[in-house]
Amino acid sequence: MADEFEITDEMRAQIGVDSEPWTYEVTTTSVRMYARGIGTEDPIHYDVDFAKSQGFRSIVAPLGYLGTPVYLPGQNDPTFGFPRRAGGPRLNIPMKGLLDGGTETEYLDVICAGDVLVETSHLADLKLRDSARGKMLFITNESVYKNKETGQVVAKQRLTSIHY
């Protein structure tokens, strides 16, 4: 199955096609939870009064955190939480193994608790490589995050997943 897998023209045709938008929330609780996950103790991620005293709207999202996608049962992946929305790629991958391949984030503004972001994503790249584990499929998605209130792009992120 996986050894016979090839990237088809139908799959490549999905590159660059934007998904429908999805809402990501940045809350005081979610920022603190993410900060605890990293293990940072900087009060700028925990203490609202301190963050405001430093000139921020509220506690600041740690680098790498671009909000949590709104979870609707049946519409989000139960393991990873990401939305299974219309317009996104449908690749029907036979590989069962999955690993993170890489993360790149570009920031155009600071993200703080209270921000509501609207994210759209598209498939950016597909690559198939041979490895000791058999064929490995590298899937790269690009997402753009806009502040819902201002419409400004606040971040762009490229995520690569490896399927084997």
Binding site: R36, G37, I38, L98, T103
Partner: protein, 142 residues
């Protein structure tokens, strides 16, 4: 920590290191914070059934560690414009992960003062598991 300025750094400088060591509890905290509940990070039997030796640290957590490395270095007046890494090696819980960065270029443009860096996570034997790059701005003394 004192605010670092553009004039304080030069190409080849290493920024202060950040050492991490993830307990399995921290991996669960991270799962809750990130929303990534993939079982290879907390269910040893599941991880081994996928061909792994055991539990592994989330790649995106190592990316976030590099974010903290940069955040801690640039201080309140600095900004991270972009950063990222690829995941080339696996890290296990209860093992030191050293986060490091070296300045590769500095330049001023449009009134902003930019510093480029190579950043990475490193295992105790020195093997780089998450090599990447970053672009930050620092305040000037002038």
């Amino acid at each position: 920590m004192a605010q670092v300025h553009f004039e304080d750094v030069k190409e080849g400088d290493e920024i202060p290191q950040l050492k991490k060591n993830c307990s399995t509890q921290q991996l669960v905290l991270w799962a809750a914070g990130s929303g990534d509940f993939y079982q290879i990070h907390y269910d040893k039997d599941f991880a081994q059934a996928t061909g792994l030796k055991g539990l592994i640290v989330h790649g995106a957590l190592k990316n976030a560690f590099l974010g903290q490395l940069l955040h801690d270095w640039i201080g309140e007046a600095g900004q991270v414009r972009r950063f990222g890494c690829s995941y080339r090696g696996m890290d296990e819980p209860n093992q030191d992960i050293l986060c490091r960065g070296v300045v590769t270029k500095k330049y001023s443009e449009g009134g902003k003062h930019f510093v480029e860096l190579d950043v990475w996570t490193e295992k105790p034997d020195g093997k780089k598991t998450s090599p990447g790059t970053a672009l930050v701005t620092l305040p000037s003394k002038n």
